[in-house]
Amino acid sequence: MKIQKVKLAGFGSFNRGLEIDFGSERLAMVIGRNEAGKSTLMSAIFGVLFGFKDAALQKKFEPWDAHDAYAGEVEIATAEGRRYLIKRDFTDNTAEMGEITENGYQGVFLGSANPRGRSDEDIEYYARLEGIVGFQDEGVFRGTVFMGQSALETAIDDQIRRLVSGSSSTDFKGALHDLHSRYSEITTENPWRKKSKARPRKLEKTAMHLEETVERLEKARETFLRTVGLEHEIVELEAKQQRAKADLEDNRSTLGYFERFLKLVRDRESARERFQEADSRRGRYLENRERVVAIDKEAKERYGQFAKSGEEFPELVARLKSETRELEVEEDGLEREKKTLRELRPVPNDKLGLALGALGALAGGFVLQQFGPVPGGVSMVALAVGLFFGGRRLATGFKERKAELEASVAARSRAVAERERAIEELIGRSGGVLGQGDPDEVLRDYRRFRQILDERQSCLSAMKALGVWEEIEGTYRRTAEENLRCNGLMEIILSDAPYLAEISEDPVSVARHMEELKRRIQDSSAEIEITQEVVTEAKVELARVAGQSSEDLPALEAEVATTRRRFDALELDRDALRVVIDTLEECVEEFQEGDLVQLSEEVSTLFRKITSNRYTRVTLSPNMDPMLTKFDNTHIHPDDLSQGTRDQLYFAMRIAIAKHLSAKVPLPFFLDDPFVNFDEERLQVTRDMLEQIEEHQVVMVTCDRNYESWNERILDLDAARAESMATGAGVQLAPSAPRSGEATHDLN
């Protein structure tokens, strides 16, 4: 493509306008002093096409003095022979694009073409622009086509790398390097190279800090909650302990009542027993004493006659009784014998009668048998009766009997008298007592008398055994009082604790109650003791825990949040950088494997042409380091080339890249005095080379009028400006008329 015409309605120092027709020459030489506006011209061309991304820059190029417009247009001829006109109004960043055909101008676009815009129009404009000039981005376009004063002074590979990277400030190497170092600023991780050790970086430091802070927060919260909890527990435990103490006191006092009550019950029982014993002892004593008195009285009143009777009295009574019985026997015999004597008569002999009767009967029997029954019966009865009476009258010893009886009566009379005398004597011996009544009765009395005397004796012994009266009486009184006192106390206790009355009757229940109370007391005591221990421990723990940390939770929470945000941002950057680095490396690799080979080919072709086949091939290393191969297959590094050849190589590479980047649009090159430090020889080589690249327009601006010799026609900016000043019109610049005479190489 070729820049055909440039028209500025107002731009920088060209406030009154500028019109340039670059003419038909391929090499356009613009010569002018410093400040004549050469650079402004170039900026204007880029500005019209792409606009200014930088608003400050756009402002900078506003016409410096009074102006009607801030606009420009550029006419472009493409390699295919088409012509485009692109107009831009910088005041509103609108553009117009049209094709100039044989039939005249045909607009294809009118609208916003803001490099900082994102409207559909903006997007469309740049897409169309790309179709014509091969680029959408001004920076890359500029980088590709512009060679400034230092272009040839810096390392070739740097610039080349920057160009293919698409940036004028850095290349992919630098970018990767920068990204890697940014990555390693963030973290020690290194997925691309193995590193053994490294100090922690931002991410690790932040992570550590985060972890520490979270830990601190957790600990502080734990401590905080623990202290709050402990305090709460202690308060509750102490309250509980107080309640337990009150319970303990209650139960103790209840148990005390029980114990006192029980003791009292026992005391009362024993007092009663003792009283009863004393009472019965006293009773028995008194009973005995009364008996003795009664016996004494009875003995005196009823048995006084026996007062002098000795021990032989019963014997006397026995003898008297036996004498009396003997006497009676004797008297009875005497009477009977006297009566017998008086009534003594002869006595019939019945036996003989019976025996003779029997014989008569027998003899009668015999008659009977001989003479018949009637004479036999009558003879038998007459014989038996006659014989019986006759036998009975036969004689007995009456006289002897009478004499005997009279002798016996006399003996008996003597015996009676003797007995009567003996009795008299016995009565005399008993002091007359026996003589007063029936001796049996007297004896019975005597025996009774003896009995009560014995009883009296035993009463006295019993009394003696029971003790001394005073003592008995004293004991009795004491126990009676005691008994009364116990009863009184019992009543008092029962009125204090009436419930005791209910249970006092049931010893099992009492025992159970007391057991229960004792158990409760034990429990309470244990509880109090244990609670005390726990409370003391808890207080120690509280002091310890509270001493550990008193950091403010809100402050720590805020710090955690801040650190976490920082960590997240760093982590995001780390992950993003990793993606960037990996992706970029992939891109570089793809570029190196595809585009670079193509580029090498392009450069080789061009370089062969420029150097008239002195070199067969230029090989670009992955780092875009060119390596030259000569015909003899020897390799040469650019450093070993002459300065001129190196410049040629550089141009070849620039052109190849321009082609590559612009999708094969043959771009114009804009040279801003790049040869300012060249010597004659180097200039010559360069000039020759520029002749070789016939596809490309070259627009060169310089203040060095020596270059006039390079071209037949020049664009004299100084002259045009002078004219403009004179006429007051815009600057009109067109190729000068060819100078005659001087032999020049015509670049065309």
Binding site: G139, T227, A555, L572, C587
Partner: protein, 456 residues
């Protein structure tokens, strides 16, 4: 007769305000000054204030240092000396719950310090012949019921005021904060003095007025720190409760969102200008830049340049570049950055597709964010933030400026690369030294060169 009270909360005395960097100290002093002015306001005879309610977070910490305590105590004593009652409940920052909390260890004679951990009996005073019942709670987690069930109001004639530091049930905040439902706390009270929120808020439940006065100054850079700050004056008479805000903040916190697309900000200068319009010596401004960016700007540069015009300025970049026209231009390039943008666009498109298919899983969303960020970081490498030094543009002299040959060389950038190398070396050396000290092994050529240089 009207009772008049000054109600303040969240003074945060002693807060270090570290988020404000070098201005932290100054800001911390502001907080003290703010409290002092609030007290002076209460002492103003024209205001005829009967009492001051301080509803929590008087201090930023539960354990302010002695000097700070004495500062606060001194000011409070001045109130007491003028027969102005002072009623305080502890807050979340100066929580009573800590074992060594200042409210437990120190004394403020004459001040009604309401330290019941659960609803208790009110403190009663007589003000202008009317009885004033004051209810308050000192929140102790685990002991104070939460949500707070409300105070046990005494059914006696007089003015009933509840002081409560906490958040209503739905508000965002720490888990350790006391929560309450205004509908349960308010009934029967004339005024509920709230604390614990930094932004002023007023609420009414039937006849009851509930007020968060907000902090006395913005404490940090959070949403609630923004805007006007100060105490409120509460007038209570038979007719009801009247609230008057008194704005006393020294500095104003502003959180500004700047949407690049909506504001038509298309370059760094425009961004700088846009941020510049927010400037103010007493302003603490955080600008969050959002929207699609058509340019890349060094925010730190902008911040540094503008910082002197602010008390404190912060710029947060949340802008996106992924769908920008800028990338579209690069996308078609045959350059390595063109490759990069194409590749990244492909990946991002894939991720978006997956998200549309599988839904917004956190993992995918995070991946997308990472990739978008990656795009920005990658493209940044290849885009000049300003017109590059070796371009023709830098040759344009500023008004009236004449350019000498040396100056020209400098502008053209001769020696720039050298400087860059030096800078990189320097950077590496610093890194290397530190690395050497940790026994790290440098393996890159550059590093070796550098260490050789170090030896020589």
């Amino acid at each position: 007769m009207t009772m008049r009270f000054l109600h303040l909360s969240d003074a945060y005395l002693g807060a270090r305000c570290q988020e404000l960097g070098e201005r932290a100290r100054e800001r911390s002093d502001d907080l003290r000054a703010a409290f002092r002015s609030a007290i002076e306001l209460a002492l103003d005879p024209k205001r005829a204030i009967d009492g001051v309610f301080i509803t929590g977070n008087l201090f930023d910490s539960h354990r302010p240092d002695e000097e700070l305590w004495n500062f606060a105590k001194g000011l409070i004593s001045r109130l007491l000396a003028k027969d102005v009652r002072v009623v305080i409940v502890p807050g979340h920052h100066d929580s009573y719950a800590y074992k060594h909390a200042v409210w437990r260890t120190e004394r403020l004679p004459g001040v009604d310090l309401l330290l019941d951990v659960a609803p208790g009996a009110p403190v009663v005073h007589e003000v202008h012949g009317r009885r004033l019942f004051l209810y308050g709670v000192a929140h102790v987690p685990g002991q104070t019921p939460t949500p707070f069930p409300g105070f046990r109001k005494v059914e006696e004639k007089g003015v009933h005021v509840a002081l409560l530091h906490g958040l209503d049930l739905s508000a965002e905040g720490s888990e350790d904060q006391l929560r309450f439902d205004p509908a349960t706390v308010a009934p029967g009270f004339d005024y509920v003095a709230l604390g614990g929120r930094r932004r002023y808020a007023e609420n009414r439940v039937d006849e009851t007025v509930l007020v968060y006065p907000g902090s006395l100054e913005g404490r940090g850079l959070e949403r609630d720190d923004a805007g006007e700050k100060g105490p409120v004056i509460v007038e209570i008479d038979e007719g009801g409760v009247h609230i008057e805000r008194v704005i006393t903040n020294r500095k104003q916190v502003e959180l500004v969102g700047l949407d690049l697309a909506a504001e038509r900000i298309a370059d760094a200068d425009a961004l700088r200008d846009a941020v510049g319009t927010l400037a103010g010596r007493d302003k603490i401004v955080e600008v969050t830049i959002t929207g699609n960016a058509e340019f890349l700007a060094d925010l730190e540069d902008i911040r540094e340049e503008l910082a002197p015009r602010f008390f404190h300025l912060e710029l947060r970049d949340e802008s996106r570049i992924v769908d920008s026209a800028l990338l579209r231009k690069i996308e078609s390039e045959n350059t390595i950055r063109g490759y990069f943008v194409r590749k990244m666009n492909e990946r991002i498109a894939k991720l978006r597709k997956r998200i549309s298919q599988h839904g917004e899983t956190p993992e995918l969303l995070r991946k997308l964010v990472v990739h978008e960020r990656a795009m920005k970081l990658g493209v940044e490498q290849f885009i000049e933030e300003e017109a590059p030094a070796d371009s023709i543009y830098s040759l344009i002299p500023d008004d009236g400026e004449r350019v000498g040959a040396d100056e020209l060389r400098r502008r053209v950038g001769v020696g720039r690369l050298e400087e860059r190398v030096k800078a990189m070396l320097q950077h590496r050396r610093e890194g290397g030294e530190a690395e050497a000290s940790t026994n790290g092994n440098g393996s890159s050529g550059l590093k070796q060169a550098e260490s050789e240089e170090g030896r020589s």
